[in-house]
């Protein structure tokens, strides 16, 4: 089992790990010949399945992988990896490899950091007499940094049972507006709702409505088990998105229009199949009935949503798929595709029942 590569873009890798680490600590990282997969399945909240082509973060010419099962599965604390990657910022030469030390597997990150230094003549003080070790003039300072991140190797059989969740076909799919804007508004809403709740010493009133929804992944958490504010996110197939929050005291919403409902890839399905999809039927229905029809709505946890949106730092394109009252699935495409293959992160967000 061997893995060794140079990092092509340590900043992208670092941003990616930073975004992932908001969702959970333990990350299942699957190294394959063409793609690197990152999966985080936290106890509660959103799970993410990311598939990043090797060339996006690693240098393909130096990428080498040897494994009996054609893949290496490791478990790593993603925030620790992220912290270690910070040493690689601005470095021209960074290597990542799988190694062992005292029988413990490690991901070893070796960084050569060079920076121009003015020399330290000006700082020389007379309190330290003695011969100097060398030239003090301006020169390039080179520092080797090694970060050894402890990992766990997972046997192929240990990950066999892990699959991406299955979802019903979405009613609405839409490209989200600028994530920075969306995040700041969402955070504002969440904060308003939490302070108004705090002031009243009462939780958000969740009407006891029977839930007839069943989710295909995870348990649908009911609103009453979690007191943090729930955002209502809804969209239709006519380019409209609405973000709203409602408590006893306040009711606010933001509305976006003229967003894009992307067409589905005809290479994957026949035209007839596409026409049978709920989202496409919605699209046609709205063409007849106008903008105010065919909304799909989900209720999501404000704080969890904020963590999901931290992926915005990578300025991706995000397609949100709404399965009414059940789930929200985000397909996050990182900018720049590599060999026609795109980096895609899939977020599965459960809808809370009302």
């Amino acid at each position: 089992m061997r893995f060794r590569t140079q990092l092509k873009d340590s900043r992208t890798f670092s941003k990616l790990t930073a975004s992932l680490s908001t969702l959970g600590k333990v990350c299942w990282m699957r190294l394959e010949y063409d793609v690197i997969r990152f999966t985080i399945i936290p106890d509660q909240g959103t799970q993410v399945w990311a598939s990043i082509p090797v060339g996006t973060i690693f240098d393909e010419t130096t990428y080498s992988l040897e494994s009996n099962s054609d893949a290496i599965n490791i478990e790593v604390n993603i925030s620790v990896l992220n912290r270690a990657l910070r040493s690689a910022w601005g470095s021209s030469h960074t290597q990542l490899r799988l190694t062992k030390k005292d029988k413990l597997p490690l991901l070893a990150l070796t960084v050569l950091a060079s920076e121009w230094t003015d020399g330290n003549m000006a700082l020389a003080t007379d309190e330290t007499p003695g011969e100097t070790t060398g030239d003090r003039g301006p020169r390039e300072r080179q520092t080797w940094i090694t970060q050894e991140v402890p990992i766990k190797i997972l046997h192929e059989s240990a990950v066999e049972g892990l699959h991406e969740p299955h979802c019903p076909d979405p009613e609405v799919h839409i490209i989200l507006p600028n994530l920075g804007q969306l995040k700041s508004i969402s955070d504002r809403f969440t904060k308003l709702a939490s302070t108004s709740v705090k002031g009243n010493q009462s939780g958000i009133v969740v009407p006891e409505a029977p839930s007839d929804n069943t989710s295909t992944f995870g348990a649908n958490t009911t609103g009453s088990t979690n007191s943090s504010p729930k955002l209502e996110l809804s969209a239709n197939m006519h380019g409209s998105l609405r973000l709203a929050i409602a408590t006893d005291e306040l009711r606010i919403s933001s509305f976006w229009s003229d967003l894009v409902n992307p067409p589905l890839d005809p290479a994957q399905m026949t035209q007839e199949q596409i026409e049978q999809l709920p989202s496409e039927r919605n699209r046609m229905r709205q063409a007849r009935e106008g903008d105010e029809s065919g909304w799909a709505k989900v209720r999501i946890d404000g704080k969890d949503w904020s963590r999901v949106l931290s992926i915005g730092r990578m300025s991706p394109k995000v397609v949100a798929c709404f399965v009414n009252d059940i789930a929200l699935v985000l397909y996050v495409y990182l900018p720049g595709s590599w060999n026609g293959e795109e980096s895609c992160l899939t977020y599965y967000i459960n809808s809370f029942t009302t």
């Binding site: 478990e75 912290r83 003080t125 080797w144």
Partner: protein, 459 residues
Amino acid sequence: MTSLALSLDPPALIRLHDVLICLSKFSETVAIEAEPTLLRLSALNSTKTGFASFAFEKNAFFEAYSFQTSSAGHSGSIAQDRFFCQIYAKALLSIFRGRIDRNKDTAVERCDMELHEDPQQAECRLTVKMICGLGVIKSYKLTYEPAAIQHAVFDKSKATSMWAADPRFLKNLIEHFSSSAEQLDMYSDSGKAVFTSFTTKVTEGKGTEFPSPRQKLSYANAGIEILKHPVHTSVATDKLDFQEYLVEDNMHVAINLKDFKAIVGHAETVNATVTARFTRPCKPLQLEYLVEGVQAEFTIMTRGQADDDVPSSRATIPRETPAPITISARPSETQASAPNTMPPPPPRSRSIRPLNGSSAQENLTQKTSADRPLASGLSMEFDSLFVPADDDRQWDEMNEEEPQDILGWDASGTQDAFGASIRDAEPSLGANERTEEDDEMGLPPTQRLSQVRQYGLFD
């Protein structure tokens, strides 16, 4: 009667604040020592492995400085022209916090401090006056505690290794280390100076926060402890990046990373070249810098493989055992007044006891080592700065002539257990009570146990 009065201008006030922040990272209390020509603030950490000291020169740092002491009542003591006390670091810090940078009309223009020590008066107060704009004067009275003060002694002339470096360069090095790293190992390897972080214990925490139930199921029998192991960071730099670097190759010297961070953090604020001097592992290391009338010295204990790999070094390298030096402002009074005034810090008030018998330190040691299961790698534990690693004198007959103030708690020679016990003995109030008990226990029993049974206590 002792009196101390000093004035600080705003820039000096900022620097004093920075110094206090640095000291507060070592200990909760700051020791103040006044001498006619300088004022020293120092802090000794609770494990007695790190000692930080800042000496402010009378003329270079202060706007005004006067220290007077009348020698009446003191006879021939070295403490005559000095004054010692200690003060709660947070109390001092809170006075200076946020007082300086404001561009307000009422910004601080001068800070006056005064202290009058009169043996006749029980009150111990340090008066701080902030003279602000628009005639505003803010006065604070802080309680201080008379205290004997310990200094870690370091003989620079006997140091065999040293390096000097720009604080920003050191800061850059430190930034690569994770916040959970505990120790910093430094060594030289063929032209490279290498700094490596390590952590002796695996991060403690609830195992439940890590895997989800789903992961627990699928990853079944594999423990998750591995992921809690600390990141091992190593930074190798060219020796040329140091202003000076004279260190024996492959000699590993390890210090507490937190101490190092605190020191470099402060050195960076004053932009002073940091000089390190040391001899070998398990001997103290001193970091030092001098800036505008302030001399900063940090003596910290190092760890590593002491003598195993260099057996001959004991004979060749001059050994500088830091002798415990305890200085007391009022040698006679501290002893006499101890029970009814402030409790003197426990370790130093204890006198040497014979090695057998139920001495105070043995009681303490037993108690704490039971509380605290000691790690197996004890040989790697820091020795205290004040416990001579191999002091032959400990086997000598007890010298009755020795002043009572000398440190006695290394007499048992069990340094390892000691590192742990001293830590717990630190809270001064409780320990003071214990001291009194110990004194009683020092007396031989006068009554048989059988005689007291009738009182019901021992039935």
